[in-house]
């Protein structure tokens, strides 16, 4: 442990060591070393290095460290693809009427129901790795989290008056599967698949 402490002491800046190294090592020889002590020396070395650095060097090193962390996150995190589908709502589901709202809610419940999601995952072979490791309920919950349903208006696609629609977004690591899921999940596929 004493050897480790002396190795850590070498991390102090050179100019600091030229002044204090001999007495610091004498102290390390007298103190009973522990992991806590080693951590304290490391902390002291980092703090002293930062004290000796110019602000430009701190900014430069911070920028490089940020770049490395960002690159690491980019490499570790899997690609996610978001597939969008716009589903035209029939006139009977006009959200301005109570009956229409009820029908719309029922449609949403159907889309997010256990049986619909379960069928989709089986038919398209979604989440194969997760299904091996996790219970079906957890996988379906994950699938549900990847689905977002929002109201939308489609005016430009029709020469007649604007009509109501719902936008269904499904996020999945495989672009082709994400799009296939949407094609079967919506009556009208108008969106495109893109990397997120």
């Amino acid at each position: 442990m004493n050897r480790l402490a002396k190795m850590l002491a070498k991390l102090y800046p050179k100019c600091w060591r030229s002044r204090y190294e001999a007495e610091f090592e004498a102290l390390l020889d007298e103190v009973k070393q522990s992991w806590r002590g080693a951590l304290d020396i490391l902390k002291g070395a980092i703090s002293m290095q930062l004290r000796m650095w110019s602000s430009g060097k701190i900014v430069g090193v911070g920028a490089v460290a940020g770049l490395i962390v960002g690159l690491g996150c980019w490499l570790v995190m899997p690609n996610q693809y978001a597939s969008l589908a716009l589903v035209r709502i029939p006139a009977c589901c006009d959200a301005s009427t109570a009956d229409g709202r009820e029908r719309l809610d029922s449609l949403m419940r159907f889309l997010l129901s256990r049986s619909t999601l379960s069928t989709m995952s089986q038919v398209h072979g979604l989440y194969p790795v997760e299904l091996k490791k996790m219970p079906l309920e957890e996988v379906l919950q994950k699938m549900k989290q990847g689905i977002q349903i929002r109201p939308a208006t489609l005016g430009e696609l029709s020469s007649r008056r604007a009509f109501q629609a719902i936008q269904i977004e499904f996020v999945y690591p495989d672009a082709a599967l994400a799009q296939r899921r949407q094609r079967s999940g919506g009556a009208l596929q108008l969106g495109s698949t893109g990397s997120r």
Partner: protein
Amino acid sequence: MSDPTLLVLASLANGEKHGYAMMEDIENFAGVRLGPGTLYGAITRLEEQNWIRAVASEDRRRPYRITAEGRAHLAALLQQLDQVVKAGQRRLKHA
């Protein structure tokens, strides 16, 4: 109370000491065990401020002594601390 610079100054107030002696002394009077990195961080800062000074020594263990400026600074710190302690005690009594 765990400010290492205050503890080192208080330790040197009654005479010169080297690093290990300071560690032991601080543990005795304050109940705080300073790590080597923390102790030497404080020593470096205090020496830069000219509040302590190294004493020439044949030994690898170099003793330090508090300077007149260091003494004045310690007195000011202790006065501030005293005010905080007194205010805290007053408030505890009235609570």
